[in-house]
């Protein structure tokens, strides 16, 4: 092994992503690149009405097409595939992957075609005729609570899926409610701000839509499933259970995954149908979602109405918060649907020491695509409601919005801090992040510039928001499939290192960050390390990548597994060197007694010895491979402060973002370059929600934003250069002190954009503007007053 004389420490360095060259050059292998001899293709016939009773399905014309292998209606699928998995702790209606009797949203599958090629599969699906008796479409979630104009699921009267579920001050363990403290706080208030806010539906829109290849091999009795998923191990669990196979018989592979944003956590009906059909027919099958399908068949995010009330004194001291939530969850419960809005309740405190908090959640079925986790999953909604309301309070009492925040922060000495709604914040220094952001933005100067621009007749506004969120999901008590993570580290015979991780990166850069960690841990070059992931036959156990858990949970498991190997390797080295293992250091590709590197052995020499241990040191087994599970004792709670300067065109209402400053605290950083990339992406989606993205349904339940011609995703050219900085408040809940950062940008940015727009248009008497900030909406505020 040749290594530089001195290897640099890599943790904390801006190491370029090792993943990028293959992805940028188009050399990645995605699900759609997988092919198998005899592969058949699936196409789904989907409902084109939002709600209706299936009277009959005629598949005869489709079956007559040459090359059509099989067609299954929902009723036929139900004979060999059980209901969809819903592991959340709330009652859920039965949901079939392919509807058998009632369709409940546009896009609900009613039949599946198996055919020789994709074109033929589509032809056959188009040739199926479905006779449906239309039922009234439930579109407005609040109107739906009266059971009008229809009830989606008979066992869920008034379309109530969950709730009303109370949390916070005065709510007992059994759910009994005592309003006295909350009522008292509001009675004592000098000022109360109250606002209904809509956090609109979004389409996650990964650049790679979903896809699946399922290959059941008769004789071997094994099923291999390739899927564009964030969590192959959880997919394996559910596929095995639903196809009647053992987990030993199922191998799930997540090859390159072109973005997930939470939408690929879910276990989808198409994956289960592909597995079940492959098993039934004994043939490999493939289904790849097209873009039009993705807008209907992949879960949506957000879609929640918040009624926010803050009680305060005129000096800015907050006295209490009430947050009543109505979540429009769509037609069915998916994997995590019901728990996503509970995260909004859980983060109702934000960064503030509200003396009393009451949150209440109701989840409602509507005839729309189901919602589930989308980047931030419940926390952006909480930050939005609380931060917008804090901004309204600042305007109401005429206080600088930064000063209002400062007066109400949970203080550093109060951590760990148990909030009124039950979250246990691990660590934090909110004022430090605020001050860093104010300094970075030049807050006082910005205010002066804004005022000068206004004097010139321009509509310029400033927005500021704090956020705190939940990362590092688990622990196991909070997740239906467990909240730990797994890793195995192997020092190979030649001194190279192979490591596996149960997280399944799809943009997070763990092939780079985890190699950085191991390089430092073992004192070897980054190039000598490979990180393997996304295949249940290679990675023995795992949970997956979501909830900003890769580093905080997966990284911790890697660190522990690496430590075990290192301990064992030191014993081999000690035997070779006739030294005490406690005196050895691993650095620069050598293992040696501290201070005497020349007398040591190379890393490869010790690795070779461990694999041919002649003679074997007492008490040791041969080999250098160890595994670890890490169960986090708590979540981490990263935080930050975002500031936006925005201008609205007086003549047309078009908003333009002029500056975007983001200060984030994710604890210790392994790779600041990758962290910045995550924040850039998060900011883009967070700002996108404020400025361009919205899933719109017509009053008849038909989707009106079903393509990228109608549904906008933000582009780099829409934005100024993001101005980033960070503070570092390590977490005590894992050995790395890393908190996680995948969702942060999405959480802090949205409210500050809206607050900036309200600030810009404050002269027109507006207190709040619901997203999205369509130019026409802003133009009507400026010119009509009838927004």
């Amino acid at each position: 092994m040749t290594a530089p004389a001195v290897l640099p420490k890599l943790v904390g360095q801006r190491v370029r992503r090792r993943e990028d060259p293959r992805l940028i050059q188009g050399r990645g292998t995605y699900v759609d690149d997988v092919t198998i001899a005899g592969l058949q293709h699936l196409a789904f016939k989907r409902s084109d009405i939002p709600h209706g009773r299936i009277l009959s399905i005629d598949t005869s014309a489709a079956e007559a097409l040459d090359g059509v292998e099989a067609i299954f209606t929902g009723a036929q699928i139900a004979e060999f595939l059980g209901p969809m998995p819903v592991p959340t702790p709330f009652p859920a209606p039965e949901h079939r992957a392919v509807a058998a009797d009632v369709v409940r949203y546009v896009g609900d599958p009613v039949a599946v075609v198996v055919a020789r090629d994709r074109y033929l599969a589509r032809d056959a699906a188009d040739a199926i005729t479905v006779d449906c008796e239309p039922l009234p479409a439930v579109v407005d979630p609040e109107a739906a609570l009266s059971g009008q104009p229809a009830v989606l699921h008979a066992d869920f009267p008034n379309n109530v899926a969950v709730g009303p579920l109370p949390a916070g001050t005065g709510v007992g363990r059994g759910g009994q409610v005592d309003d006295s403290a909350v009522d008292g706080a509001f009675a004592e208030a000098e000022v109360v701000v109250s606002q209904r806010m809509v956090n609109q539906r979004l389409a996650p829109t990964a650049i790679e839509p979903r896809g699946v290849v399922a290959h059941f091999e008769p004789g071997k009795e094994t099923l291999t499933i390739w899927s564009s998923t964030q969590n192959p191990h959880i997919l394996r669990t559910h596929v095995a259970a639903l196809t009647g196979l053992g987990q030993d018989q199922v191998r799930a592979i997540a090859p390159e995954v072109g973005g997930g944003f939470g939408a690929k956590i879910n276990i989808y009906g198409e994956d289960l149908v592909a597995a079940a059909v492959s098993k039934r027919l004994g043939l490999p099958v493939k289904w790849v979602e097209d873009r039009s399908e993705a807008f209907l068949a992949t879960i949506h995010g957000r879609g929640i109405i918040g009624y926010v009330d803050i009680a305060a004194r005129r000096d800015g001291r907050v006295l209490g918060l009430k947050l009543r939530l109505v979540a429009d969850i769509g037609a069915y419960n998916m994997l995590l649907t019901a728990v996503v809005p509970t995260q909004t309740m859980r983060m109702a405190n934000g960064t503030y020491a509200f003396p009393v908090v009451r949150a209440t959640l109701t989840e409602v079925f509507t005839n729309k695509t189901p919602t589930d986790a989308y980047r931030g999953a419940g926390r952006p909604e909480a930050a939005y409601f609380v931060e917008r309301a804090m901004d309204m309070l600042a305007r109401e009492i005429g206080m600088d919005p930064a000063e209002l925040r400062r007066r109400n922060f949970i203080q550093p000495h109060q951590f760990p801090y148990k909030t009124q709604v039950g979250a246990l914040y691990d660590s934090g220094d909110y004022e430090k992040a605020l001050d860093r952001a104010l300094e970075k933005a030049g807050w006082e100067q910005l205010k002066a510039e804004r005022d000068a621009a206004r004097a010139d007749g321009r509509l310029v506004g400033l927005g500021l928001s704090m956020y705190v969120e939940i990362c590092g999901l688990g622990p196991s008590a909070r997740l239906p499939n467990g909240g730990w993570e797994y890793s195995q580290v192997t020092v190979e015979r030649d001194g190279r290192i192979s490591a596996t991780t149960g997280v399944s990166p799809h943009g997070q850069g763990n092939e780079t960050t985890f190699a950085q960690m191991l390089a430092d841990q073992f004192g070897v070059p980054l190039e000598h390390i490979r990180i393997h992931h996304g295949d249940t036959a290679v990675v023995k156990q795992g949970i997956g990548t979501f909830g900003s858990r890769s580093q905080a949970v997966g990284g911790a498991a890697l660190h522990l597994a690496g430590g075990k190997v290192k301990t064992k390797m030191a014993k081999f080295a000690a035997a070779l060197l006739e030294a005490h293992e406690g005196d050895l250091v691993f650095e620069n590709g050598r293992i040696a007694v501290a201070g005497a590197p020349a007398a040591g052995k190379t890393f490869a020499e010790v690795a070779a010895y461990a694999h041919r241990p002649v003679k074997l040191p007492a008490g040791l087994e041969p080999g250098l491979s160890e595994e670890a599970f890490f169960e986090p004792p708590n979540n981490t709670y990263p935080f930050g402060c975002h500031i936006a300067l925005l201008e609205v065109d007086r003549d047309t209402g078009e908003p333009r973002l002029l500056r975007m400053v983001a200060v984030d605290d994710a604890g210790n950083l392994i790779n600041p370059l990758i962290v910045e990339g995550q924040i850039h992406g998060g900011l883009t989606q967070g700002i996108g929600q404020a400025l361009v993205e919205e899933v719109v349904y017509g009053d008849d339940g038909q989707p009106l934003t079903g393509s990228l011609m109608d549904y906008a995703i933000p582009r780099a050219t829409d934005f100024p250069r993001f101005e980033l900085d960070n503070t570092v408040t390590p977490t005590p809940v894992n050995p790395l002190g890393a908190k996680g950062v995948g969702e942060a940008g999405t959480i802090g940015s949205t409210p500050c954009i809206v607050s900036a727009a309200v600030d810009a248009l404050g002269g027109f008497g507006v207190r709040h503007i619901d997203m999205l900030l369509r130019p026409e909406k802003l133009w009507r505020i400026i010119h009509g007053g009838n927004a």
Partner: protein, 288 residues
């Protein structure tokens, strides 16, 4: 995203393309493919046959003669945007072409395919209406030339018959003392025009000798804003005069306004004067 079956023919000449159209009723012409292919993939169009004219050399390229730019129907947006002749004689056209889609679209999409598709939110029809372009059509009865007002007949509808082929677009080249500009309000998703305004101004010595203005996006076909043109003719090309003239833009739109979830017809009509003003201001500056 999987087209229905169709037969594919490649034509080597305009004459052969016409023969293929005659032999295959309902056939669609394929040029750069950036309008037709999406329709096929979405199965919004399912012709029995597609006649590919994309490699007919005689339909390709830009020439300058007789006071006009002759732009072959297969000339791509990228070629138009980069053309010195177009940038000199029809700035608005180069400006619009440079804003269509993204580089991949501009490298494949053609002016002929674009205008034959006649999307009401498309950029080029608006510019061509303002610049007084004519459209050369080769049909069973020979060749004919149509003005924009006659060529664009409705949403996705043109004067092209089933056996017609658009062969060229001719744009009068602006002389000295003239300038043109195109300014658009892009839809955030499609980047098509919510409102697109094209203006051409002749203004020797700072007085408007003639202006032509068209607006697209708000109506089924581009609207020539006669009121704006009349209000500006003979006036000094001052900011105030331009603003006052542009304010009349909406009055030429009629009652059939286009709207969608992003922008209502009322709003499009209301902001059109702003974009007309911007286009006129830029055109007047170029007229210098």
């Amino acid at each position: 995203m999987f087209a229905a079956d169709f037969e594919y023919y490649r034509a080597g000449s305009v004459a052969e393309a016409r023969e293929l159209l005659a032999a295959h009723p309902g056939a669609k012409l394929l040029a750069g493919g950036h309008s037709l292919i999406p329709l096929l993939k979405l199965r919004l169009a399912a012709p029995a046959a597609v006649v590919d004219i994309g490699r007919i050399g005689e339909l390709h390229g830009i020439s300058n003669g007789g006071g006009a730019l002759h732009i072959g129907a297969l000339t791509t947006h990228a070629e138009i945007a980069a053309s010195a002749a177009v940038n000199a004689g029809a700035e608005a056209l180069a400006e619009a072409a440079s804003q269509i889609g993204d580089p991949a679209v501009r490298n494949r999409g053609t002016i002929g395919g674009n205008v034959a598709h006649a999307d009401p939110a498309s950029d080029l029809p608006t510019v061509l209406a303002a610049l007084g372009a004519t459209f050369t059509v080769s049909g069973p009865d020979g060749e004919r030339s149509l003005a924009a007002a006659d060529f664009f007949q409705g949403m996705m509808a043109t004067a092209l018959g089933e056996h017609d082929i658009l062969t060229a677009v001719n744009v009068p080249a602006a002389g000295s003392g003239s300038g043109s500009a195109y300014v658009k309000f892009s839809h955030p998703a499609s980047r098509y025009a919510v409102v697109g305004a094209a203006a051409a101004v002749t203004g020797a010595g700072g007085t408007c000798a003639g202006a032509s203005v068209a607006v697209g996006g708000a109506t089924a076909v581009p609207v020539r804003c006669a009121s704006v043109e009349a209000a500006l003719a003979g006036r000094a090309l001052s900011a105030d005069a331009i603003a006052a003239a542009a304010a009349a833009a909406g009055s030429d739109f009629g009652d059939d306004l286009l709207g969608d979830v992003f922008a209502s017809g009322e709003y499009r009509k209301a902001v059109a004067p702003v974009y007309v003003q911007r286009a006129l201001t830029a055109a007047a500056e170029r007229a210098g």
